[in-house]
């Protein structure tokens, strides 16, 4: 029988400090943060939400929403060259950010095909990262961008490479008293790039993806691949980078033969499954085709 948020305990901290104090005090009691609710409300309705109660982050937007080009890590390890995206930034705000569009248009594309417009107005960057859905649209983009996540607790703040942060399916490296406060995107000198984002889903909006593929290909003066990143969602137990394929293709020039080679490497590297939304066979065919066409140079947009 469906339940409602009003049947649950909710604590609404006034600021980040109060939230972290509460999380430290109730560290192992099963409280979970509630941001936009786009995942949590569905879990609550379906009686799938295992939580003692919810820490409602609604009043923390002043501190935790926003996109800052000169963003620095709280721990001061990096002092420049990063864009800081507050964890409570909504997907609609990602879509509309001129800063992010200039740095990497893939972010906007991923945000624009997550759920529907209503969900994009509620869903937050941090919520998507912590819920860690294997098919989450924005997650492969963070992987491809070598992003880091900032985790805060009452006593410390730490940064973790997003690749390390993702662990088992739907599990992350976050501790029970930690709040994800930001995601950090490195800004680097970029040569010529070719980019691609594709979500393959049953319909144009409001569907969980069958698979997600995103790619960033640097090209050197000779037109050879440099710093190639190929990231997938829905092709394994968690979003992943096809590291072996990236290494194999690095330094080669785009061609149909190279595209075919990429496709074959991906067959060995990816482990999709059959589920309600699609089949392993179909997912692998699309991954091969999209990555092959991208590596061959047929699809993708130029960005510089």
């Amino acid at each position: 029988m469906p339940t409602n948020i009003s049947d649950h305990h909710v604590f609404t901290p006034r600021d980040v400090t109060e939230a972290l104090q509460f999380m430290a005090l109730h560290r192992d009691e099963g409280w979970r943060p509630l941001a936009g609710g786009s995942e949590v409300m569905a879990q609550i309705y379906g009686n799938r939400a295992a939580a003692t109660g919810w820490i409602n982050l609604a009043q923390l937007r002043d501190q935790l929403a926003g996109i800052h080009e000169d963003g620095t890590h709280e721990d001061g390890i990096h002092d420049d060259g990063w864009v800081r995206i507050g964890a409570l930034t909504t997907l609609t705000e990602l879509r509309r950010s001129a800063v992010l569009q200039a740095i990497c248009p893939l972010i906007r594309r991923a945000a624009a095909v997550t759920g529907g417009v209503q969900r994009q107005n509620r869903a937050t960057v941090g919520g998507r990262i912590v819920s860690a859905s294997p098919a989450g649209e924005t997650l492969p983009v963070w992987l491809a961008l070598d992003a880091e996540v900032e985790l805060s607790s009452r006593d410390a703040t730490r940064c973790v490479a997003y690749r390390q942060f993702l662990q088992e399916p739907r599990q992350t490296a976050i501790a029970p008293d930690e709040l994800l406060t930001a995601i950090m995107i490195p800004i680097r000198d970029r040569p010529r790039q070719r980019l691609l984002f594709r979500k393959v889903a049953s319909r144009a909006a409001g569907a969980i993806g069958k698979m997600v593929f995103t790619a960033i290909a640097g090209l050197d003066a000779a037109g050879h691949y440099r710093d190639l990143r190929l990231a997938f969602g829905g092709m394994g137990p968690r979003p992943l980078r096809a590291c072996e394929a990236e290494q194999l293709l690095e330094g080669h020039a785009p061609s149909d033969a190279l595209g075919a080679q990429a496709a074959d490497q991906l067959s060995a590297e990816l482990t999709p499954i059959d589920d309600l939304r699609s089949t392993a066979d179909y997912r692998l065919r699309t991954a091969r085709n999209l990555a092959g066409a991208f590596i061959a140079g047929h699809i993708g947009e130029q960005h510089s």
Binding site: M1, P2, G46, G116, R198, V200, S202, R203, A204, A205, G206, A207, I208, L276, R277, S278, T279, D281, Y282, R285, T286, N289, L290, A293, H298, I299
Partner: protein
């Protein structure tokens, strides 16, 4: 003096539209609860079993709730639809996973949830069958000796002999999937014990079904059962037969608790355990002369009816009658069966068996054209039914023969020929293009079809629909029908039709949500409101006016004077009421046994064109635009008519491309609206609706049925467009990317 302009043909605004827009419209769950108890259903958790009993956990205090099992039923334990094979609550056997075994009512949700968790269903498993062939092989017994709910055979000429002498014989097998109605408002009923009878409110199409069903179930006289349909949030046939079961459940609980009980399904429960469109397998053997003239058709169709008969015996009739499509052929044999399996019962769904039949015949026809080396347009022109042509049942269509006209009009409206050539050129040059376009293929296809107006054959006679008009003290006139507003605009259309007969402005006619005490039985179902009921309303309106004018002793062409006269007559104590009942046109002949004769009073003819683009990297097909041309006889309300076409095309595109019910052991696995994808606004192409108005002579205003027809065109048009884009003939809907992509890659390896 002013006279009234016709109420027909105007986009009169929806009467309950403003309340719906403002969110003021009260659906069942919005009604004040007033102490109504909460109710839930104890369900079987196996698809096929002997039912040994239910075991309530003794740790739960059962005095807090009321429990109903089959043993409590005072009357007959049956859901009376057609075959009377379905029990209201399981007794002896479980035939599908989720079958209701017991009911619980409780004063609050928490107690109800606890009670439902505290009861187990004891079963001894039997072998289930889910597949049509296994059911036909009678691997396990579900219904009768052969698991066949009904067989319908139609013969015209000698198909066997014709196929033996045909120049070319082409075979094809097509499959269609289940489809969820996905009405906005889930199923729900409230029943109230009122001392010596039951009042039922809820989400439904057909209140009179419930009166009879509940009377039988509770062993009460029918006059003790009052059914008041609530404003209903969508139906599509899903609120036709299913509420007969649900209303019975609510009534049983009200009867036993002596209270008001509200039983509303949650979305997942609704999707898993209520009816779906019948899945189908349809085989064609079709004979042609060398130059493409149809000489013989054999159609063998099997529908998967699920565990109980529900509407299946009627669905299979409509499926069979439409199985040869709008094509002239002198030798036809149609064999149509609907079989029992351990799926939840299939039921009424917009189209009622015709969509499956029409998909197969029109997809097959394009396939035949390719085998014959002919243009599919030429093949259709050569064989479509023309004036005085005869359908499979032998029915002479007379002047009601617009197949050719809708085809030619659709070709023009969609610029079919030019675009087909342009797309072929686009596809030929694909490999020479750079960029993402090199992976795209485009195609355009069409379907030609018809839908019989009203109920099939004798059903309309048995149904004996009635309407009534009565005059009010203020001179307004109330139109009484049981046409429930389920979102189709029926309250507004009923007023328009009555106003047309009365010759008064539409505002003079009052329409209410019906109840079974005051409103005569009239439906709604089967695309009948505008045509059959409309005809009765117009006739009743004319008789009402004649009655008023006779009493007044003069003609009253001025509507204001007419209104004042009605008011005066009512004030003087005169009773102004006119009733009208349907009787079939005397020249119509129908042999139900042989399925021969005049199956329907009229046919709505239609041609649907779909253009699409396939990304061959992913197999995703995006529909670019749809053109739907239909001869509806008369458009009663242009806005509603266009809405029916757009909604129907959307539902048809969903069935064609997206809507895939994933079954496991007889249970729908993707029973939510995220994983079961119906099209959203972002998936829908521009839909161009064109109406032809050749009046049919069996209704005073000439209107024919429209409600179901528009969903029937897209599936065959899409499959034919895919053939045009990819050169591959797909034989199954939904034709998902999981089917398209491997087929494309296999073809390119050849």
């Amino acid at each position: 003096m002013k006279t009234t302009e016709s109420a027909l043909g105007n986009s009169v605004p929806r009467r309950e539209g403003a309340a719906k827009l403002r969110g003021d419209a009260q659906f069942l769950d919005d009604l004040p609860r007033d102490g109504a108890w909460f109710a839930g259903t104890v369900r079987a958790n196996v698809p096929h079993a002997r039912l040994l009993g239910v075991r309530p956990d003794t740790r739960f205090d059962w005095d807090r709730v009321v429990l109903v099992t089959a043993a409590d039923i005072p009357g007959e334990n049956v859901v009376p639809v057609v075959l009377r094979d379905q029990p209201s609550l399981a007794e002896g056997f479980i035939r599908y996973h989720g079958q209701p075994v017991a009911l619980v009512a409780a004063p609050d949700k928490e107690t109800l949830a606890l009670a439902l968790e505290s009861i187990s269903v004891l079963t001894s498993p039997l072998e289930p069958v889910f597949d049509i062939d296994d059911a036909l092989a009678a691997k396990t017994s579900i219904f009768g000796e052969d698991n066949v709910f009904r067989t319908v055979e139609i013969n015209k000429g000698d198909a066997n002999a014709a196929l033996q002498t045909a120049d070319v014989v082409i075979e094809g097998e097509h499959h269609t999937g289940a489809q969820e109605h996905a009405y906005l408002e889930p199923q729900g009923m409230q029943a109230e014990w009122n001392g010596d009878g039951i009042t039922i409110r809820g989400s439904m199409q057909c209140p009179y079904y419930l009166v009879k069903a509940v009377a039988e179930l509770l062993d009460l006289p029918q006059e003790k059962i009052l059914v008041i349909p609530n404003l209903t949030g969508g139906a599509f046939g899903g609120k036709d037969d299913f509420p007969t079961m649900l209303g019975g459940h609510a009534a049983l609980l009200a009867w036993k608790t002596r209270k008001t009980v509200r039983l509303i399904y949650e979305r997942g429960e609704d999707m898993r355990f209520t009816s779906k469109r019948h899945p189908a397998r349809i085989r064609h053997r079709t004979g042609f002369t060398h130059d493409g003239r149809l000489v013989g058709m054999q159609v063998e169709m099997v529908l998967n009816g699920g565990a109980y008969g529900t509407m299946s015996p009627l669905v299979i009739s409509r499926a069979a009658i439409h199985a040869a499509g709008p094509y002239q052929c002198d030798n036809i044999h149609i064999s149509a069966r609907v079989v029992a399996t351990n799926h939840p019962p299939s039921g009424a769904f917009r189209g009622f068996g015709a969509p499956q039949a029409l998909f197969a015949v029109d997809a097959h026809l394009d396939y035949c054209a390719s085998k014959l080396g002919m243009d599919p347009l030429e093949l259709r022109r050569k064989n479509l039914i023309r004036r005085n042509g005869t359908l499979a049942t032998g029915q002479n269509v007379g002047d009601d023969a617009s197949a050719g006209e809708v085809l030619e009009r659709a070709l023009r409206e969609s610029d079919f020929i030019t675009r087909r050539e342009a797309y072929a050129e686009f596809n030929r040059e694909a490999d020479s293009r750079r960029g993402a376009d090199r992976f795209l293929r485009r195609g355009i296809g069409l379907s030609l079809f018809m839908h019989g107006t009203g109920l099939s054959g004798y059903e309309e006679v048995f149904f004996h629909s009635g309407v009534a008009l009565h005059g009010n003290a203020d001179g307004s006139i109330t139109a009484l029908t049981s046409q429930v507003e389920v979102g189709q605009g029926t309250r507004t259309i009923v007023a328009q039709l009555a106003a047309e007969g009365l010759g008064v402005p539409v505002e003079y006619v009052l329409t209410e949500q019906p109840d079974t005490n005051q409103h005569p039985d009239s439906g709604p179902m089967a695309s009948r409101t505008a045509t059959i009921i409309g005809g009765l309303l117009i006739t009743a309106g004319k008789r009402f006016r004649e009655d008023v004018e006779r009493r007044q002793g003069s003609l009253l062409p001025d509507p204001l004077v007419f209104r004042a006269t009605v008011a005066k007559l009512v004030a003087s104590g005169e009773r102004l009421e006119v009733r009208e009942h349907y009787s079939p046109p005397p020249e119509m002949r129908w042999d139900e046994e042989k399925h021969q004769g005049d199956a329907y009073p009229a046919y709505t003819w239609s041609c649907c064109v779909a253009a699409l683009e396939v990304d061959t990297l992913t197999g995703e097909a995006v529909v670019l635009d749809v053109t739907a041309v239909q001869d509806v006889g008369k458009v009663v309300n242009p806005m509603f008519a266009a809405g029916q076409v757009q909604g129907g095309v959307a539902q048809g595109l969903g069935w064609a491309l997206l809507e895939n019910v994933v079954w496991k052991n007889g249970v729908m696995q993707n029973a939510n609206l995220a994983d079961y994808s119906i099209p959203t606004a972002m998936d829908l192409p521009p839909i161009h609706a064109v109406f032809l108005e050749h009046p049919q002579h069996r209704a005073p205003h000439g209107a024919k049925g429209l409600g179901e027809l528009p969903m029937e065109g897209p599936a065959p048009a899409v499959v034919n467009a895919l053939r045009s884009a990819l050169g591959i003939h797909f034989r199954r809907v939904p034709v998902t990317p999981e089917i398209i992509l491997p087929a494309w890659e296999a073809r390119n390896l050849e």
